[in-house]
């Protein structure tokens, strides 16, 4: 009997593509023979736009790339500008930045855990659990910055304004809730046999492949590579905290899930330590120039974002605007390995693998 492979178009409007991402699957029955990812539906030219903006204005665009880990993007951008202008960030600002970034990582990972459940077929339960916890953290962000999503709170040199007085207490109140929520999700997903059979041995990526694809973040660590920019290229004040870096052993979807669960715990640890050490003081350097003008230079600064290495490559030819701004987005690099991981698996696995990469389309397309 003659059989043909059929092309199935998944996305850009599809519940499991996490935004406007499109995969053209070539399937033989239920097996995926080929995947062709199409990106760019959300391209807004953020890099080009940033060239037209002065150093303060462009922060708003950093929020809009990886819109689930906004503080990390702002951090990377501000670090680049600070390096360019040779600005020293005050202690207190650094601590608040770390606290907010780690909370942001927790929030982002909660979002992942929820969405991962949906990709595996949960009817929204894990999603609402994840969202519930994210909401607690989001409330803190809203109290601090006034915004719920596009914070634009960091500035080259520090922060736009100080945190409210009850900030420390608020964070301390929320952390146990996050722990509890994590435990809920843990019970819902980790031990569940169906989750296990669905995700174990699926989308395996070996350590060598992961490195040569340029993966970063939880994907790379799940593949068994000890690499965390917070430890290996210390920036900000991360060298002052104790935490563990979870490293996977199999490099499959399940390991990626576990790594993220563990990272939430470690982030909670970091936040607790940072809260204890939070000093008083100014949040902006004493003598900040009113207009930021940089010398001629090329700067690369990177942070360990929630999805991997978020880097800013900034070329300045003087003046108050960058000559070129390149964002190294972790989602984009991680997504490039999708085809390799998916071929030969089932259609349902393709969804799980895409979910485990945890892409944010704003970050992929920029």
């Amino acid at each position: 009997m003659e059989t043909v492979d059929i092309n199935v178009n998944m996305g850009p409007q599809h519940p499991s593509t996490h935004g406007v991402f499109r995969m053209v699957l070539t399937i033989d029955g239920e097996r995926v023979m080929d995947v062709e990812p199409h990106i760019g539906y959300m391209h807004r030219g953020a890099e080009k736009l940033s060239e037209e903006m002065d150093y303060r204005q462009a922060i708003g665009y950093q929020d809009r790339t990886d819109y689930l880990a906004q503080f990390m993007n702002e951090q990377a951008y501000c670090m680049a500008v600070e390096k360019l202008l040779d600005i020293e960030v005050p202690e207190r600002a650094e601590y608040i930045r770390v606290i907010l970034c780690e909370l942001n990582r927790i929030a982002s990972h909660f979002m992942f855990l929820g969405a991962f459940g949906i990709d595996l077929g949960h009817f929204g339960t894990s999603f609402t659990y994840g969202f519930r916890e994210r909401e607690h953290i989001q409330d803190i962000f809203e109290e601090v910055t006034g915004e719920r999503l596009m914070y634009s709170y960091f500035r080259p040199g520090g922060l736009v304004w100080d945190v409210p007085d009850n900030f420390v207490q608020r964070v301390r109140d929320v952390l146990p809730k996050s722990r509890q929520g994590l435990q809920d999700l843990d019970m819902l997903l980790t031990g569940n046999e169906i989750v296990s059979v669905r995700s174990r041995g699926v989308g395996v990526m070996s350590a060598e492949d992961a490195v040569s694809w340029g993966l970063s973040g939880p994907l790379l660590r799940a593949a068994g590579v000890e690499w965390d920019l917070r430890r290996d290229k210390p920036y900000s004040i991360y060298d002052r905290f104790q935490y563990d870096i979870p490293v996977g052993t199999h490099g499959d979807v399940y390991d990626r899930y576990l790594v993220r669960v563990e990272e939430v715990r470690q982030s909670i640890r970091i936040v607790e330590q940072a809260l204890d050490q939070l000093p008083d003081g100014p949040i902006m350097p004493e003598k900040m120039p009113r207009k930021l003008r940089g010398p001629e230079a090329e700067i690369y600064s990177a942070v360990e974002g929630a999805r991997g290495e978020y880097g800013i490559y900034l070329v300045s030819k003087g003046g108050d605007k960058p000559y070129r701004l390149k964002m190294r987005s972790p989602s984009f690099c991680n997504l490039s390995a999708l085809r390799d991981m998916t071929i030969g698996n089932y259609v349902a696995d393709a969804v799980a693998i895409l979910g485990s990469i945890d892409i944010v389309l704003g970050c992929v397309d920029r």
Binding site: G60, E147, V160
Partner: protein, 154 residues
């Protein structure tokens, strides 16, 4: 099997807890004092005129260029009632383009502009995009009527 039972347990446990959502259009969540909806202009109640002098600082700093400011000589200054020599004549903000970045509030030297921190500032759906372009009267009206307790940093 144990894992499945655990999942069942945790869902049952959640069922016993109080729902975390609220019934939206009937109930609103409280917005914090720093809440940033869209920028509005503030009204100087002592002199009965806007704080804004029409200095164009915010207009220049806005990343998306959604503001338009026109300045004029202040008639009240000629009468000696006001300190402000110049005052805003026309002011438009296109809420459809504004990305709520707060930069206009930061750059304003006269504390004349602030972000709307009420719930009403978020519910702005309109049938026509042009309705989202607010003119001076609309921008001032909320603070003039005392509906807003604006938070201006520093």
């Amino acid at each position: 099997m144990l894992g499945i039972l655990k999942s069942m347990y945790v869902t049952m446990n959640a069922m016993m807890r109080k729902p975390v959502t609220i019934h939206y259009p009937d109930h609103h969540r409280d917005v914090p004092q720093r809440d940033r909806a869209f920028p509005i202009l503030l009204w100087d109640k002592e002199v009965d005129e806007p704080f804004c002098t029409g200095c164009h600082a915010c207009e220049r700093a806005c990343p998306v260029e959604c503001m338009t400011v026109v300045m004029k000589d202040n008639p009240l200054h000629a009468d000696g009632k006001s300190e402000r020599r110049k005052i805003v004549d026309q002011f438009w903000i296109d809420y459809g383009r504004c990305m709520r970045c707060n930069i206009c509030v930061e750059v304003c030297n006269f504390e004349a502009i602030a972000m709307n921190n009420t719930w009403a500032g978020h519910e702005l759906s309109k049938f026509d995009r042009n309705d989202l372009v607010l003119d001076l009267d609309q921008l001032l009206s909320q603070h003039k009527q005392g509906k807003i307790d604006a938070w201006v940093p520093e």
